[in-house]
Symmetry: C2
Subunit: 340 residues, 2 copies
């Protein structure tokens, strides 16, 4: 029989982008003893000196109990819960760096939403592969634009973990009156929803850049959801999960919000920008959908799936197809029946 889950008091959050900082701040507000670690020392200095992270959350005053980590080692060694908020393409390196300090059995939650190029690994798989010891790994996902959660706008999230003992525990850890957290035992599906939706959101953003409206966007999202399911199911996700908060919910928020990086990247492309120009407009923030598109093309080829949006986006991002032409090409795919 397994030991009961350890009560959580100290939390280490690795990565001080907008979402990592938001979650660290939320947990500090709930009374957890939270340290936030970032590679960039100026972010940690500002956090300590002024209680702000002006690069990623300008204008937000963070909770006074939220502390900048003095060292990665101390932060991780003393934690009861370790949270990674690192983009998928950098996560493996980060896990390796933290590995010497991670105790066997330490509960780990991942916040990033992406798929690793080359390996096609989900974030939780990256963690498991690098640790090679018993660490339960969970994910927090859902329609959560950081800018809104950090301001206390009512939001809903999902924790997923394949070990049910941690689901209730983590639901309690993350829930606040403004942030209602649901549970889902489908770890793969929950992670995949978050990763795949970025690809569809880029395409939806292209429509915005072209000046189209609600009809177009709704159609792209609806058809995109079907593509997410086709890919997600062969990658081990449950079909039902894609109809929930971490699937269609997250896709919608990403495609709706002014603050979504992936949507904004698409918008720039739709206005005629090249990929490097569109990326530059994000001011150093990462649009995970770019690399995820590349990873998905590999998966799609292996399974011969019908994924017109992913394929077309790949051509727009990496093969010089003009965004407008690509967008309209996906418009008239040949199927007649809905649900195909």
């Amino acid at each position: 029989m397994m030991a009961p889950a350890r009560p959580i008091q100290r939390v280490a959050v690795i990565g001080a982008g907008s979402w990592g900082t938001t979650i660290a701040n939320l947990l500090a507000g709930k009374g957890f003893d939270v340290t936030l670690w970032a590679r960039e020392s100026e972010i940690l200095r500002e956090l300590t000196e002024r209680g702000e992270n002006s690069r990623y959350l300008p204008g937000v005053t963070l909770h006074p109990q939220l502390r900048a980590a003095t060292s990665l080692e101390e932060s991780v060694r003393t934690a009861d819960l370790l949270i990674f908020a690192i983009p998928a393409q950098s996560l493996r390196q980060m896990v390796r760096q933290a590995r010497p300090f991670i105790a066997d059995g330490l509960l780990i939650v991942n916040l990033a939403k992406g798929i690793e190029e080359g390996t096609c690994a989900r974030c939780s798989e990256i963690v498991v592969q690098e640790l090679k010891q018993h660490n339960p790994v969970a994910v927090l996902s859902g329609p959560n634009i950081a800018w809104e959660v950090v301001r206390g706008v009512p939001s809903k999230g999902v924790v997923a973990c394949s070990n049910y003992r941690y689901l209730g525990l983590l639901q309690n850890v993350f829930s606040t009156p403004c942030f209602k957290v649901y549970e889902n035992p489908d770890l793969a599906g929950t992670e995949l929803g978050g990763a795949l939706k970025n690809v569809i959101a880029i395409m939806a953003g292209i429509g915005d850049g072209l000046g189209y409206g609600a009809n177009t966007k709704s159609a792209v999202i609806t058809r995109g959801l079907q593509e997410m399911i086709r890919i997600g199911v062969v990658m081990g996700g449950h079909r039902e999960t894609f109809f929930g908060l971490s699937g269609i919910g997250d896709l919608m928020a990403t495609a709706l919000s002014e603050h979504s990086r992936n949507r904004r990247l698409g918008e720039c492309l739709g206005r005629g920008a090249t990929l490097p120009e569109a990326e530059a407009a994000l001011n150093g923030r990462v649009a995970e959908g770019i690399q995820t598109t590349r990873a998905l093309l590999e998966i799609k080829a292996g399974y011969d799936l019908d994924t017109p949006i992913v394929e077309t986006l790949h051509r727009v991002l990496f093969e010089g197809l003009p965004a407008r032409e690509g967008y309209l090409a996906t418009w008239n795919s040949c199927d007649r029946l809905e649900g195909n």
Copy 2:
């Protein structure tokens, strides 16, 4: 063996609101001989004299071949296809008025998205009940804000009919390069998606009125979709249909668009307006979701379904519950697991 479907040349559109006018205009542009009938003679006069419908589609120049009907009788008697674009609560009366002129076997398409109070009938059921003769009845639905379709913004729609012979025919009738039409044999599910989504869109609009953002709206839409499915399935719709253009797609467009009446009604309520004040702000346009909410409460009671959004909205609309209070009450429903 049934006769082959009759080729369509003449089309009668009954009802000159924004969507009826848009579809009449689209068909006139494709070369069909279209007459548009409305109860309001001033709309017909303006259509004839200036080629506009400034009440419902201000600023739009309609196709020169689109004609105002000179009489309901002549228009309906000579038609190969009859299209009703009449709100659900007025449809029965309109069908009775047109009934003497409707030939047996005439193909009928309904455009309205609502459920009749008192009978809980879908629009196609109203038509069938009133005609008591053989008329195939189909529906055109999907994420179609009229204002966008009439301007040629790329949009996707769905025709549904339980007789497959008419599906392909109607797909051809309505499709244009900018309006791609899919087929769905699930008539009930397609109609119900369009009707139920108005209820959820009012609630999503309340969130807008309260100043919330993309996270909140995505969560309401995602949870609302689950409610639509619970109700829609007991009313005869196929679960899958709600994940398509006429379900989640239409829900999304309605909740996204500035032009959606149901969303705007909710927005007014969220800002503190009473129901009569919010209705007045629509300038005589009908928000079908109001009556549909009343009809759904009846259905919900008969089946003991879990429908927190419908119930709460009923209390906000008809029982004096402040919109803000209602909105936050649905926020913390007691379920823990996603997908419940």
